[in-house]
């Protein structure tokens, strides 16, 4: 009697089946079933020139398929959740603050990429086993608004200690260490400088000196910071951002100024190193290895700065003019051993939240 209804339902079911089938077709291009494709699992800020990726295909015959998922933290956690049955062949984007979590979960298979000898030892954090390959590094630093300090005839701060001085009261905005990676980086910079207990005292001082905390980098930089050309409506001339933010500020300006509108407080930095690794259980191990070699090749390394605004890991990779002219080389960034970060991260963030928020 209600055959029409039944027909409608079966049509709908058929429709969804057809869609799944379509989805299935798409999968054939995935790793494993097709050795001509190599899949790079990464976070959503990964970027590379199309030309460079094409070059890889020309050289090796492998096509790169990029699979992104969330921010860096979420991407690493996703990879851990699907370990043994990974979404792709190579993972890029685990940094030194999360490295131990990934290594302890046995995410990566050892492989020594070509060109690793050109990477400074300080960046090679898994020297014994080569489960991960350093690809780039960047520094999380306090940035300042040049115009503000020039107008006030005030010297911009240079060190972490400076930030607690009365002259800089109510000027700094930073990010929540629990939810934002520059926020965490800045907390780690203080932990590295003042030690396991000393950093708490430092943050108490910073709090007395009127530090403001917002949840993410976008709000800190665009809404609260006064120096960004984009937002620039905020009233805080100091912000926790990156050493590469000043070059980014002038990257697209038509007439290049003599100096970027923002500067970097060089004594406030924490070094972030990003790694790539061959995923355990990868379908296309050979292609994955070729991709790792390529990530360390000079061609890719020199493409990195203008795409992701970080520094290449290779010493011999040439930096673009934008970086040499407007960027700063930070000589003495703070670092912490990944194991130490893994061990303390959660309790530090908890303590920090109770101290500062």
């Amino acid at each position: 009697m209600n055959s029409q209804l039944r027909r409608a339902i079966s049509a709908a079911l058929l429709g969804s089946l057809a869609l799944s089938a379509l989805a299935g077709c798409g999968e054939d291009t995935k790793s494993g079933s097709d050795s001509k494709t190599v899949t790079l699992v990464t976070h959503d800020s990964f970027a590379a020139s199309k030309a460079v990726l094409k070059e890889f295909t020309k050289e090796t015959g492998y096509k790169v398929r990029v699979q992104a998922g969330g921010d860096a933290g979420a991407a690493v956690n996703q990879a851990i959740l699907s370990k043994g049955h990974p979404q792709g062949d190579v993972f890029f984007g685990v940094d030194n603050t999360l490295l131990s979590r990934a290594l302890d979960n046995d995410l990566f298979a050892p492989y020594t990429a070509k060109g690793l000898d050109k990477v400074p030892a300080a960046l090679r954090l898994d020297r014994a086993e080569h489960r991960v390959t350093p690809v780039d590094f960047g520094d999380i630093c306090v940035n300042y608004d040049r115009k503000y300090f020039a107008d006030k005839k005030l010297t911009p701060p240079r060190t972490l200690d400076d930030l607690t001085r009365p002259a800089y009261k109510n000027l700094l905005v930073t990010e929540n260490a629990a939810t934002s990676s520059p926020g965490l980086g800045f907390l780690l910079a203080t932990a590295a400088k003042y030690g396991d207990d000393g950093w708490k005292g430092y943050w108490k001082k910073l709090r007395t000196n009127g530090v403001e905390v917002v949840d993410g980098w976008e709000q800190a930089y665009y809404d609260r910071f006064s120096g960004s050309a984009g937002g620039g409506k905020g009233d805080r001339p100091l912000v926790v951002s990156y050493a590469s933010s000043p070059p980014a500020e002038v990257a697209d300006a038509k007439s290049k100024p003599a100096k970027a509108p923002t500067g970097v407080a060089t004594g406030t930095c924490f070094r972030q190193v990003e790694f790539a690794g061959l995923l355990n259980g990868a379908g296309n191990t050979k292609g994955g290895k070729a991709l790792l070699d390529f990530l360390l090749s000079k061609r890719f390394q020199e493409d990195v700065p203008l795409n992701m605004y970080v520094n290449p890991a290779r010493e011999d990779a040439e930096l673009p003019e934008l970086f040499t002219r407007y960027g700063v080389r930070i000589a003495d960034s703070a670092t912490l051993a990944p194991q130490k970060i893994a061990k303390n991260r959660e309790s530090w963030v908890k303590t920090w939240s109770s101290l500062v928020l």
């Binding site: 989805a23 990726l53 998922g69 976008e218």
Partner: protein
């Protein structure tokens, strides 16, 4: 009912159960001790308390502000009404970061109101509440207004002829008829604000956290799956309690109504009171919704060399020259529209069948099913996203790398809207009409097509508009599963916002403006389709 049930079992219940189980089962043994540990933690209780009261306050405020709007949109005719109805839905699709910062530009430190009257609302709870009104205004206007426009005004007039005062006629005739739609709208606003994520993060600063924020932190940042699993269960329990309360209060009040063509109920306002109401509503909409949107558009045009289309041109040129980071705006628009259209079809099929089944049958089981359909609104995107990842990873359902995941995840959020918008209207259909048709020999399918469908045509359009808008703006789940070479507009905007520089910021604003236009345009088109079709009925 089989289709919606299967859909929910596979794409919601199974993935969420998988991720929760993963959290609570360690080495093959259940760790239920974790539940009492987390639940009794004072921090959890704080979060739960804040989550509840801000949701209650936001819902009450939204109803207070938007109900007059629903009336005006339903009963008055004025030029630009269709456009304005599309515009109030725009906040729905904007990424919270973008809308939040526009809101701050208006209400925050150094904002417009600060300059004019020294009114500052950043980091206060007021900013959160007002932003929730901004985002959810359309829910009330569209769900309640949708039904209101179809109520026959002659019933109220009849009551007045019989001697009832204007107020008591309204209270006895219109209010009971509207109650289910108001309750449905209130429920959705509550669920949305209860699970609020971006608004809390941006406007509340790091001091305020909802359960949703806590779940996100535990899952995506700390990978503390046990705690996340417990918090997810707490959120489920709270949402289930609200749904039960809703079912209990609404059930007894739904009655058959005379529904008429909305085109016949709206007229130009008469008398000073009606004009005052119309202008009042327009003023609220202008201040609360149009101004923040206008701020965005202004920013997208305010380039380095004064006003112009610099940022829009930059969008095009950087897409030509750039790498994987850049995507041509037209391409992102295309991706967004395509995903949203597929998601809308999924949501309409699943939600429509579910709503039809729910009107037809009664009983405990069906009521439970009703509640089940609402649960996705009460579940965090990261739980669903991670759940998809670990549950749908084996053939025949290895969809992890498939584009279908995006519209599927989006449809999950769209279905509750479809059900909630269609149900009050479907239930209001006089059952005697159906019986009469059946007596005359029509098959159930034919009854549905000839009796229900013409009357719910408008509700279908409203529901489709919602599902479409929700899908267009969906970010949380999409960012996990969208492929980087096919980003949607919100994902592309987030990429631009993630980098420093005037041009990238401007491009983000330009893309946001495009997203607004696409949304408003699509909604207008949807309404147009409906008006054209209504001639047939």
């Amino acid at each position: 009912m089989a289709v919606p049930l299967a859909f929910f079992a596979v794409f919601f219940a199974y993935p969420v159960a998988a991720i929760v189980t993963r959290g609570l089962r360690v080495d093959g043994r259940w760790r239920f001790g974790r539940i009492s540990e987390v639940v009794s933690d004072p921090a959890t209780l704080d979060v739960l308390w804040f989550t509840c009261w801000q949701a209650v306050a936001s819902t009450a405020l939204t109803l207070a502000v938007a109900l007059p709007g629903a009336y005006v949109f339903a009963r008055f005719d004025f030029p630009g009404k269709g456009l304005l109805r599309a515009v109030v839905t725009v906040p729905f699709v904007l990424p919270t970061v973008v809308a939040g910062s526009a809101f701050l530009a208006l209400l925050g430190r150094g904002g417009l109101l600060d300059e004019l009257w020294g009114v500052r609302l950043d980091t206060s709870v007021w900013a959160i509440l007002l932003a929730h009104v901004f985002f959810n205004y359309a829910v009330v206007v569209r769900t309640v207004g949708g039904l209101w426009a179809q109520l026959d005004p002659r019933q109220e007039e009849a009551a007045r002829v019989l001697g009832a005062s204007r107020l008591s006629a309204w209270r006895r005739v219109t209010l009971p008829a509207l109650a289910p739609a108001v309750a449905a709208a209130a429920l959705m606003v509550f669920l949305f604000t209860f699970t609020s994520f971006g608004v809390i993060q941006i406007l509340g600063g790091p001091r305020y956290a909802t359960l949703e924020v806590a779940i996100y932190r535990e899952t995506a940042q700390l990978l503390d799956l046990p705690t996340a699993a417990v918090l997810t269960l707490v959120q489920f329990a709270a949402v289930a309690a609200v749904l039960a309360l809703h079912a209990w209060t609404v059930r007894r009040r739904e009655s058959a109504l005379r529904l008429v063509d909305p085109g016949r109920t709206a007229r130009r306002p008469t008398g000073p009171a009606q004009w005052a109401l119309l202008w009042g509503v327009l003023a609220v909409v202008a201040l609360l919704i149009v101004t923040p949107l206008a701020v965005l558009a202004e920013r997208s045009l305010n380039g380095p060399d004064g006003y112009g289309f610099t940022y829009y041109e930059a969008l095009r040129s950087s897409a030509d020259s750039g790498g994987t980071f850049f995507v041509a705006p037209m391409e992102a628009v295309g991706n967004s529209l395509w995903y949203a259209a597929v998601a809308t079809v999924f949501a309409l099929v699943v939600g429509g069948l579910a709503a039809a089944a729910l009107t037809r049958k009664a009983g405990r089981l069906v009521r439970g099913f009703d509640a089940l359909l609402m649960l996705p609104l009460g579940t965090s995107a990261v739980t669903v996203g991670f759940g998809f990842l670990i549950a749908l990873d084996e053939p025949p359902l290895d969809l992890r790398a498939s584009w279908v995941l995006v519209p599927l995840a989006q449809a999950l959020v769209g279905v509750p809207f479809v059900v909630r918008t269609m149900l009050p209207v479907l239930r209001a259909v006089d059952h005697r009409l159906r019986e009469a048709a059946a007596v005359l020999g029509a098959s159930p399918w034919k009854v549905w097509r000839e009796v229900d469908l013409p009357l719910v045509g408008r509700a279908v359009a409203v529901a489709a508009g919602f599902a479409f808008a929700v899908s267009l703006g969906e970010f949380g789940a999409t960012v996990f599963i969208a492929r980087p070479d096919h980003p949607t507009l919100p994902v592309a905007i987030a990429r631009f916002l993630g980098r420093a520089g005037q041009l990238t910021y401007g491009q983000a604003m330009a893309l946001s403006t495009i997203l607004m236009l696409v949304c408003a345009g699509s909604l207008l088109a949807l309404e147009r389709i409906r008006t054209d079709r209504s001639g047939e009925f």
